[in-house]
């Protein structure tokens, strides 16, 4: 289907089903129950899942295929956001031109940074990209925000004000980013029994774009171009002595992944029309590296899983506070209860990074292939239990990177 082989088609359909049905299965707990805290099915978080999914899918095209580890991809995310907000300010709140412009600007920016950074490989490449991203951050944070020339609005962040130009804005259109009149904030709530499900326009628009982005990534992975990118990772010497110039291949991959980051940045602005410099900071670049590795570098679905995993823990663990902990351990005698709360306390709320760090270490040590490898191991285990050993052998022999 759609020019994909059977295996990829089923993977694609899984991703489509996952994103379309996300409002249901991310809200498994009734809204009044004490476990409702673990529900992730609210628009804001679901949007973040798919937007960071796009970011990680794009990053994986560079890192997963060519092995070039960029530590500056957040720069493209930030540039995309600024580009989108400028379109909102000057022309219209319609998200289509904003997103298109984000992708173009991020692509051009990636071409420039990539052209210079790709003169080196390995750690030097990583450092160069990091340096560029930090320069971009500094530019956005202060340099490009002065009374004479205010491109980024510095610390406050770029946002849309009432007296902005907005040439194509009309009275009857929502005063918020919209898709031909459908506000990104529009939300339909469905109550079934004690469950409450949210269907947000913003989420579904982002989800459709992520599905398209995922489809494109699958096509790239399975194209001769994708094979060349894996060849770059595998052996550049052989590549050069086979009459192939690795530079334009890596640059193309860099620009494509920069455009994915720009797309993600544009969507971030579309669901919340604000662009701040902190979006370009190195921690944001590091986050997408973590997402990709955690999910499974070089696999198709891994980055989406990694992005979802990290964003889920970021939002859920940071919400848990001591009062909730006391509630959980209330069944214990008081001394023990306080002790348990004291033990768990550093890992929740603001300490969620600690939890993430431990989870990351566990995954890297026990599942070097990321969450995808975990899934494969479970599948193989189930297959073996069912006595279908021949199937498992077959899958072990088939090509990697699914």
């Amino acid at each position: 289907m759609l020019g994909l082989n059977k295996q990829d088609t089923s993977l694609f359909l899984i991703v489509v089903a996952m994103t379309v049905l996300a409002p249901f299965f991310l809200n498994p707990f009734p809204s009044e129950s004490s476990l409702a805290l673990f529900n992730a099915g609210y628009p804001d978080l679901m949007q973040r899942f798919v937007i960071f999914g796009i970011f990680a899918i794009g990053f994986n095209i560079l890192f997963g295929l060519t092995g070039y580890l960029s530590f500056g991809h957040a720069a493209f995310l930030g540039v995309g956001s600024y580009a989108a907000v400028w379109i909102f300010k000057l022309f219209t709140y319609n998200v289509i031109p904003a997103i298109v412009f984000s992708v173009i600007v991020a692509g051009a920016f990636a071409l420039f940074i990539g052209y210079i950074s790709l003169r080196r490989s390995g750690i030097y490449f990583s450092i160069l990209t990091l340096a560029f991203a930090q320069m971009s951050f500094a530019l956005a944070y202060s340099v490009l925000s002065n009374p004479n020339f205010n491109l980024t609005n510095g610390e406050t962040g770029l946002q849309v004000y009432g007296d902005d130009l907005q040439i194509f804005h009309r009275e009857n259109l929502p005063d918020f980013p919209h898709l031909f009149g459908l506000s990104m904030r529009a939300n339909y709530e469905l109550e079934i029994g004690s469950w409450l499900f949210n269907f947000s326009a913003g989420y579904y628009i982002c989800a459709i774009i992520m599905i398209a982005a995922f489809y494109l990534a699958v096509r790239i992975f399975r194209s001769p171009f994708g094979t060349m990118l894996r060849a770059v990772k595998s052996n550049q010497t052989r590549m050069y002595y086979t009459g192939l110039n690795a530079r334009p291949y890596t640059l193309a991959a860099f620009v494509v992944s920069g455009m994915y980051a720009g797309l993600a940045g544009g969507l971030m602005a579309a669901v919340d029309p604000l662009a701040g410099a902190e979006r370009m900071q190195w921690t944001a670049s590091g986050e997408v590296v973590l997402m990709t590795i955690l999910g499974g570098t070089g696999t198709l679905i891994g980055p989406i899983l990694g992005a979802g995993f990290i964003k889920y823990f970021e939002n859920i663990f940071s919400k848990i506070n001591d009062t909730i902990l006391h509630g959980w351990f209330a069944f214990l005698p008081e001394g023990l209860e306080n002790l348990m709360v004291a033990i768990v306390h550093p890992f929740i709320g603001k300490g969620w990074h600690l939890t993430l760090g431990i989870l990351f270490m566990l995954v890297i040590i026990f599942l070097p292939g990321g969450l995808v490898e975990g899934g494969q191991r479970i599948l193989n285990l189930l297959r073996r239990r069912n006595g279908q050993k021949s199937d498992a052998d077959k899958s072990a022999q088939s090509t990697p990177a699914e």
């Binding site: 082989n5 194209s223 001769p224 894996r230 060849a231 590549m239 002595y241 086979t242 009459g243 110039n245």
Partner: protein
């Protein structure tokens, strides 16, 4: 006028004169061996031919064109392929993919953005790759990751990848180094077959005299960075200067 003409090539590494006034002419459709004791400059010379090193002075002409200063991939696209001492293959890729890449390179040149085509639809390329794998006796290994091949098979694959580009000149850098006897003989047979079946010139650097004398039609002996003699294998065998270079003056 040979297909490969090396004229007055000099290469210095600091105080070491690695190559001194090397002149070499390789005739089309011959197997030309370059031999010499360790440190004679054989590998340096080879690296100068393929663009890995740039000679300090002198010129290298391939088929009447100057290759000096060109990038390795440009030299390769002119029709020179190289087999390395340790097989350089795409270890993470399958055997079939390894074989397809040089065919892509031949068809599409050094870069093409074919990002929206499907590799599975490249029937012609897959067929060509399979024919080559068949001729190497590796067709049944096509789905294997090439890093897990045996040393001998890696070498076969690498030679096959070079042939896939249909080069006019094939350079081999100690193709049987570190190989078991059986693998060495297989490689000799493969190279003989290539020589008989194809319109190709082969230049080989080798330590193993068994390999050299089984294949070469012409031999250049290199010693201390300069060509000592160039002659047919029969004449080289008993040449006093060659013995001296290999075994020292007392021999």
């Amino acid at each position: 006028m040979g297909i490969l003409e090396v004229k007055n090539v000099n290469k210095r590494f600091g105080g070491l004169q690695a190559l001194g006034d090397v002149n070499l002419s390789v005739n089309e459709r011959t197997v030309h061996a370059i031999i010499g004791p360790n440190g004679a400059g054989k590998s340096t010379l080879l690296n100068c031919l393929i663009g890995k090193l740039i000679p300090d002075t002198g010129s290298v002409m391939f088929d009447g064109q100057l290759v000096l200063g060109l990038k390795p991939y440009e030299i390769n696209q002119m029709g020179i392929s190289r087999v390395f001492q340790t097989p350089e293959i795409f270890g993470d890729l399958t055997v079939l993919e390894n074989m397809m890449i040089p065919i892509f390179a031949k068809r599409d040149g050094s870069f093409r953005l074919h990002a929206f085509e499907s590799t599975l639809n490249e029937g012609e390329i897959i067929d060509q790759a399979m024919v080559l794998l068949e001729s190497l006796g590796m067709a049944d290994k096509r789905t294997m990751q090439s890093a897990s091949l045996s040393r001998g098979d890696k070498r076969r694959l690498e030679i096959g990848m070079c042939l896939a580009q249909e080069p006019r000149l094939l350079l081999l850098d100690e193709p049987t180094a570190g190989m078991a006897r059986a693998d060495t003989n297989n490689t000799i047979d493969l190279l003989k077959q290539i020589k008989d079946e194809r319109d190709i010139t082969i230049t080989i650097i080798e330590h193993d005299m068994h390999v050299v004398f089984s294949l070469a039609e012409r031999i250049t002996v290199l010693a201390q960075g300069s060509p000592l003699v160039e002659d047919t294998p029969d004449n080289i065998k008993g040449h006093p200067k060659v013995r001296e270079a290999y075994l020292g003056e007392s021999a």
